[in-house]
């Protein structure tokens, strides 16, 4: 539980720190400091158990099936890192409180800082590898926020994005690697994974898993060739650089190497990959650091180089190398954090970080200079300082390597070369900045910083000295515990002494110190040489930028190519897809044969004539499609012939429906034509027309083939049941109508809803629409004078037509008719009044809110359905009875007829609403447009 609190307390700080800021500017810092101190105190309560050799594990189930537990672990390695994170964190918070200027937002800074701290603690205290990864990604995210803290600066934004892209991408690789590892071991718990080395390393998936995990580690720890993000992340405020980019976050990568050392290390693949990356990074970054003029740039490359050193040590795979690696982690964290802070003080007080301008600062800030010099000396590996000790251990390890065979001498030589560079850049840091003449046009006169800004540096420098001089008393127990945590095995023999006698390692150190000194003396010539050889700084950043730009450009090109906004294209794709899958499926089932002889109906003159007329009208619709009026007329002809076909095949209901739908739609379409522009769109290219013709033709033939196949296939459906049940179950002799209002009444209900929505949608669409009046056209039809004869005929027709509609509806259950057809008939009759007498005349006489008609229709349909609930039957269960009416005689009353009334009202309402909307639009046009 304490372990959980250690992580949760900083995470809570994400909210608490800004909340505390309401009590003054320092509130956030105080809160952050207090929370960190609390977490540190809690860690101390657990420390004795870990020093006693215990591994503390606590676990809560999260997704047990997946192997994801919220399980935490505190062993030596975790303890070391938690101490670094919290201890240095505390110092950085103190430092930052004085570093940030009044313009910078304190709540924001400390909120992000605590988020990062909690995430980082999570990484080092996780027992479950997936949990570790989750915190790992959180560190990338919080680092994104911290680097982009000065959001107005372009370099901060770019640096943050680059860091996130590289480390986030690495995190995805790590995720894959961890999942593979879990696949091999069967668990993500470290306790299991760490003791399964043999199983893991003999598994087929070891190679991909290792590569993916290493990608994660190398990106995070800025190993070549993924190092480039780190220098650019230096756009962050200096406390962030000190904390994230030297002491903690970039150490997550090497932490992972240490953490999984018992499980993954030892194989040839591990050795070559890890030492290869480490060695390259060590030498390359040290070299680059030499030529940096920016203080933080120098420190950044130096950090990369030292991370390379640690990586290299873990790559050796030997227990002693691992001890040395852990030791260097501790030492690097102390001297590098203090150096960053010193660099921040210099920047803060002198206003620049350019070493070509910063000279002779010793006399302005002697105390700070002293601190920085000690830390830099530690970085160079000067004896009596902690950096010397671990570097010495490193040199010893390079000498004991057998794996490279004849090339074994190469590693100590390169290590020494890197040592020379390190001494060189450390000397430059000291001499250029604090001595070397006078400062050159600094923005301000530098002076010592506030007292409390120096305290964190002092503490770290004192630690460098103490560890450097009394290693066994100070760092000994912690190192032993931490190294034990890495190895998960008894520690090898090693001695933490300053003096091991005159040996090769000491010689290497001496060579490095002398070589570094020589280098510094010759620096101007070397700078020239470097400048001539590599005139333009060739950074991986350029490559990264080019890559990102290339990917974005590629994405844009692909997207533009695909989503080109052409409806014709999308339609072609739809039809094409249908053709492809249709043909594919058709070919899956052996050879096709069409039974041309099968025909249930005799061919005669009537059917041939009608078919030809249908075909001609359909073709004409296509040919005339650029001339709207003829097209519509042809479409009407097609519809009429389809109706006739229904009649021919003895389907009067369908024929009636088709006919009335045809009439209403054609009329409405004709009215709508008025609002379309006279000019037509430019003609498509002939290639495209050919393509479209081919697609349409193929699709048409496909449909024809399908139809033919169905018509000639033996047919066995539910229809028998419907015919049988129509009268006894549905109470109607007209099976079609019984199907519509009873068997499948819910479909009808759905379809009238569709119509209602369409009408409402049209209203909503036209509500605020401004339609260009058609300059060439006649007056709006709604206000134009209708022919007298038409109105004279139409008015008396209305009651007649309504009567017919009523009749059709009432008899629908037993004979052709029904609410839908009746509604359309009534609709047509009413539409005729508008056409014959004009909009104003009709509106004056028909003060009906069509929305209410539609709503009433739907409501009646719904109510009929719900009524059956009260008889404990499902929705729309029908009932019927026969009543004897005087005059009319025996008459059947079915509840479905009430439903049909709803259908009728809805259809009438919809027709009229659409008409009225078009009419209003026409009126608006007449009045000069637009509301």
């Amino acid at each position: 539980m304490t372990l959980l609190l250690i992580i949760l307390i900083p995470l809570l700080g994400t909210l608490l720190a800004p909340a505390a800021a309401v009590r003054g500017r320092m509130g956030a810092a105080v809160m952050a400091g207090a929370l960190t101190a609390t977490a540190l105190a809690l860690l101390f309560t657990l420390a004795p158990r870990v020093f006693g050799g215990e591994t503390i594990v606590v676990s809560w189930a999260w997704m047990a099936d997946l192997g994801l537990y919220f399980s935490l672990r505190l062993d030596g390695l975790g303890l070391l890192f938690a101490l670094l994170i919290l201890g240095i964190g505390l110092l950085v918070i103190l430092y930052a409180a004085y570093y940030l200027s009044p313009k910078d937002s304190m709540p924001k800074f400390f909120s992000y800082m605590m988020l990062f701290m909690g995430a980082m603690l999570g990484v080092v205290l996780s027992e479950n590898l997936i949990l570790l990864l989750m915190f790992w990604e959180l560190t990338s995210l919080s680092s994104f926020l911290l680097v982009s803290y000065w959001r107005h600066r372009a370099d901060a934004r770019q640096g943050a994005r680059m860091a996130l892209a590289v480390t986030g991408g690495g995190g995805l690789c790590l995720l894959a690697g961890i999942l593979l590892l879990g696949e091999i071991v069967g668990s993500y718990e470290l306790s299991v994974v760490l003791v399964s080395a043999e199983l893991i390393q003999s598994h087929d998936l070891y190679t991909p898993a290792l590569i993916l995990i290493l990608l994660g580690a190398f990106t995070k720890s800025a190993q070549f060739p993924f190092h480039f993000w780190l220098p650019h992340a230096m756009a962050a405020p200096t406390p962030v650089s000190a904390y994230l980019h030297s002491a903690t976050m970039v150490k997550a990568g090497v932490f992972l190497l240490a953490r999984l050392h018992p499980a993954l290390a030892g194989s040839d693949l591990w050795f070559y990959l890890v030492t290869g990356a480490g060695l390259t990074t060590l030498v390359f970054a040290a070299y680059v650091a030499l030529f940096k003029h920016d203080l933080k740039g120098l420190l950044a490359y130096s950090t990369i180089s030292h991370l390379g050193l640690i990586t290299l040590l873990f790559g050796f795979g030997t227990p002693l190398a691992a001890v040395a690696g852990v030791f260097h982690i501790i030492n690097h964290a102390t001297f590098k954090a203090s150096l960053f802070m010193a660099a921040g003080i210099i920047d803060h007080e002198a206003g620049t970080r350019d070493m070509r301008r910063l000279n002779g600062l010793f006399k302005y800030m002697p105390y700070t200079a002293l601190l920085a010099m000690v830390a830099a000396a530690s970085m160079a590996g000067v004896p009596l300082l902690n950096g010397f000790l671990s570097k010495e251990m490193f040199f010893v390890e390079t000498l004991h390597l057998q794996r490279f065979g004849d090339w074994a001498w190469l590693i100590p030589v390169l290590a020494t070369v890197a040592g020379i560079f390190a001494v060189g850049y450390s000397l430059r840091f000291i001499h250029d900045v604090f001595f070397n003449g006078e400062p050159k046009d600094l923005p301000q006169i530098p002076h010592e910083p506030p007292r409390w800004m120096k305290v964190p540096v002092e503490i770290l420098v004192v630690l460098c000295l103490l560890v450097g001089m009394l290693p066994a008393f100070t760092v000994g127990p912690l190192l032993a515990t931490a190294a034990g945590g890495v190895l998960q095995a008894p520690l090898p023999e090693y001695s933490l002494a300053i003096w091991h006698g005159f040996n090769t390692a000491l010689m290497m150190s001496i060579i490095a110190l002398i070589g570094g000194g020589l280098f510094y003396l010759l620096r101007h010539k070397l700078f020239d040489l470097h400048g001539r050889l590599l005139p333009n700084e060739f950074g991986a950043k350029q490559i990264f930028d080019i890559l990102v730009k290339a990917v974005v450009d590629l994405s844009r090109a692909i997207t533009r190519l695909l989503e080109n906004g052409s409806l014709q294209r999308y339609m072609a794709l739809l039809v094409g897809s249908a053709i492809v899958v249709g043909v594919y499926a058709a070919l899956q089932h052996g050879a096709m044969s069409f039974d041309m002889s099968a025909s249930s109906m005799p061919v005669n003159a009537v059917s041939v004539t009608a078919s030809i007329a249908l075909i001609v009208a359909a073709l004409a619709t296509v040919l005339f499609h650029r001339h709207r009026l003829p097209t519509l007329l042809m479409l009407g002809v097609v519809g009429l012939f389809v109706s006739l076909a229904f009649v021919y095949f003895s389907a009067p209901d369908l024929a009636l429906t088709q006919l009335s739908v045809e009439v209403v739609t054609i009329i409405l379409l004709l009215l709508a034509l008025h609002f379309l522009p006279q000019e037509s769109q430019p003609e498509s290219s002939s290639a495209r027309r050919l393509r479209d013709a081919l697609l349409a033709g193929t699709a048409g033939l496909g449909i024809a083939a399908l139809t033919w196949a169905i018509l000639t296939a033996p047919f066995e459906t539910l229809s028998g049941y419907y015919l049988e049940q129509s009268v006894p179950g549905g109470g109607g002799k007209n099976v079609v109508n019984v199907i519509l209002v009873d068997f499948r009444g819910f479909d009808t209900f759905g379809e009238i809803t569709v119509l209602a929505i369409a009408a409402i949608g049209i209203h909503a669409l036209l509500y605020n629409l401004f339609v260009n009046p058609n300059p060439a056209g006649p007056h709006g039809w709604a206000t134009s004078r209708p022919p007298l004869l038409l109105s004279v005929i139409c008015r008396p027709l209305l009651p007649l037509a309504l009567l017919v509609a009523l009749y059709l509806m009432l008899r629908g259950h037993n004979a052709p008719g029904g609410g839908f057809i009746a509604g359309l008939v009534a609709g047509v009759a009413l539409v005729m009044q508008y056409l014959a007498s004009g909009l104003d005349w009709t509106n004056a006489r028909m003060k009906i809110d069509y929305f209410k008609v539609i709503a009433a229709g739907l409501a009646i349909a719904l109510a009929t359905g719900v009524a059956s609930w009260f008889f404990a039957h499902p929705f729309m269960t029908t009932t019927f009875t026969h009543v004897h009416w005087p005059v009319v005689g025996e008459f059947e009353v079915a509840s479905a007829m009430v439903f049909d009334l709803g259908v009728f009202l809805t259809v009438v309402g919809i027709t009229m609403l659409i008409l009225a909307e078009l009419g209003k639009l026409s009126g608006a046009v007449k009045q000069g447009g637009g509301r």
């Binding site: 997946l66 995210l141 994405s555 929305f851």
Partner: protein, 515 residues
């Protein structure tokens, strides 16, 4: 559950009718009714989900005509889950619209509830033709909603949308017609039985129409090569509509799951697993191209629309693996992606509102007037949608990756999914940077603040991601049960048609083997 099952379909219709009648009584009444109905629906959906958990199929026969003769609604875990998800999303979308968007055109709430009716109907119906009807309802309603607010951009996008989808409907009708012509039934359970028993002559046509259905559902779901209409339409829609549309693509995904795991699932004899050769590759390519689209976007709305395409690709690829694990992972991911893309559409609108004329375009503009709030929300939502820890996107990705583990296509699946995540990560960091960091100091700053209801809706939808992650265990166990129920068609067939409806193909083979 009795009549309760029909409530998710009928209540929205009733609400729409009432709203139509009280249209003149002002926005207060309209909103009150709309919200009340939605809350009632939420309760009913929750109860239905609870009742589905025992694994029993509940059948509601309209007009008391039993399957396969009448139309039935079928409640199982999947349909209950989809209905609840729809309701939750719709609730917050409509609450967001209370900020005034709902009054920018006519009958917003009416159309909104009609749309709900169509969605819930599609998820509940056990009848293929009725599915078509529900598709029509939600298509027409969504067209109306898409145009809500007016403007030439919307009209253009709406025209593309409606024409393509009407063509899709025609194709649907043709396919259903052919299937009915061959198998003589429309009830899905009965179709599954009849498909398994189809004669070799029937198989060809059923196969053709099955794949035509796949095209139709693919169009709805926005699957390659039929997704190009989506970015324009979704980016043009007003925010609450776009948020609701987050579930629309899932209707296509749902239909694919339902029809191709049931009717053409493992028990379909010669026509078993018809969709298998198509779904995985199409899903993966859609995912990849969608990720490119996310990176290519120059406007946040458009980017979110492409994130929808990414989610569809992911889902279809996972369904295409056709294992209990992968379908289960897909279900979890479906819930996550629906809610979070919904949240992002709303958020994009809230951001655009405060950036003046630049809107949601990804170029320098004045800093939004509520930078801390909006940036925090964007940060969290982006983490969720990209699939970074600790939110639901990460859990979903974890489930998807492990479900593909050990399969033949593992390398492809992992590579595409992870690279797409990487591209999305880059894209979202660029967008966040462009909107909140790279501001134009010269631009005139807006002083509008987000409406409290809008903030509430965004907060709730974003928070859902955390809830989904925290309760991932119970959710995945539900998803596992659902997938197990789904993957074996006999469950559904017996649930709807009774235990004697069909013996499994192995049983039939055994029976034939007997003398």
């Amino acid at each position: 559950m009795g009549h309760w099952m029909s409530v998710p379909v009928l209540l929205p219709l009733l609400t729409a009718i009432i709203l139509l009648l009280v249209a003149r009584m002002g926005p207060g009444v309209e909103r009150g009714l709309s919200l009340l109905s939605m809350l009632a629906l939420l309760v009913v959906s929750a109860v239905l989900l609870q009742s589905s958990m025992d694994g029993e199929y509940q059948v509601y026969a309209f007009g008391n005509w039993v399957a396969p003769f009448g139309i039935v609604l079928v409640l199982d875990r999947l349909s209950a889950l989809m209905v609840l998800l729809t309701t939750v999303l719709a609730l917050f979308a409509v609450i967001y619209a209370f900020n005034g968007i709902d009054q920018k055109g006519r009958h917003f709430h009416v159309l909104f509830h009609m749309q709900l009716m169509g969605l819930n109907g599609a998820f509940l119906t056990g009848d293929l033709f009725n599915l078509f009807v529900c598709f029509e309802i939600l298509l027409i309603a969504s067209y109306g909603l898409l145009l809500h607010g007016g403007g030439p951009l919307r009209s253009r996008a709406g025209l593309h949308y409606v024409i393509l989808n009407l063509a899709g409907s025609a194709l649907f009708l043709i396919a259903v017609g052919v299937i009915y012509g061959m198998l003589g039934t429309l009830n899905m359970a009965d179709l599954a039985v009849k498909t398994a028993m189809a004669t070799p002559e029937q198989q060809r046509l059923v196969h053709i129409s099955a794949l035509l259905l796949m095209v139709v559902f693919g169009l709805k779901a926005a699957l390659l090569p039929l997704y190009f209409w989506l970015p324009g339409a979704y980016a043009a829609a007003s925010a609450p509509v776009a948020a609701l549309f987050a579930i629309m693509t899932k209707v296509g995904v749902y239909s694919i799951m339902r029809v191709f795991l049931l009717v053409f699932g493992v028990e379909a004899g010669a026509l078993a697993n018809l969709a298998e050769p198509w779904l995985l590759p199409l899903g993966l390519i859609t995912l990849a191209l969608g990720a490119f689209g996310v990176l290519a976007a120059r406007c946040l709305r458009n980017q979110v629309a492409y994130l929808v395409v990414v989610s569809v690709g992911t889902l279809i690829a996972a369904v295409g693996l056709m294992t209990v694990e992968s379908v289960s992972a897909a279900l979890y991911y479906l819930v996550h992606s629906t809610l979070i893309t919904g949240a992002l559409f709303l958020l994009a609108d809230a951001i655009a509102e405060q950036r003046g004329a630049v809107g949601s375009e990804l170029r320098p503009a004045a800093l939004v007037s509520q930078p801390v709030l909006l940036a925090s929300l964007f940060f969290i939502a982006a983490i969720a949608v990209v699939g970074l820890p600790p939110l639901s996107g990460f859990i979903g990705k974890l489930l998807l990756l492990t479900s593909a583990s050990g399969t033949e296509v593992m390398v492809w699946f992992w590579a595409v999914l992870l690279v797409a995540s990487f591209l999305a990560l880059i894209a979202m960091s660029r967008s966040g940077s462009a909107i909140f960091f790279k501001t134009d100091a010269a631009a005139v700053a807006s002083h509008t603040h987000m409406h409290p209801v809008a903030l509430f809706a965004i907060l709730a939808l974003t928070a859902s991601s955390l809830v989904l992650a925290l309760y991932a265990d119970s959710l995945t166990s539900f998803a596992n049960d659902t997938a197990a129920q789904l993957i074996d068609p006999l469950n559904y067939i017996h649930g709807v048609l009774g235990p004697d409806a069909m013996l499994s193909t192995t049983d039939m083979a055994m029976m034939e083997a007997r003398p």
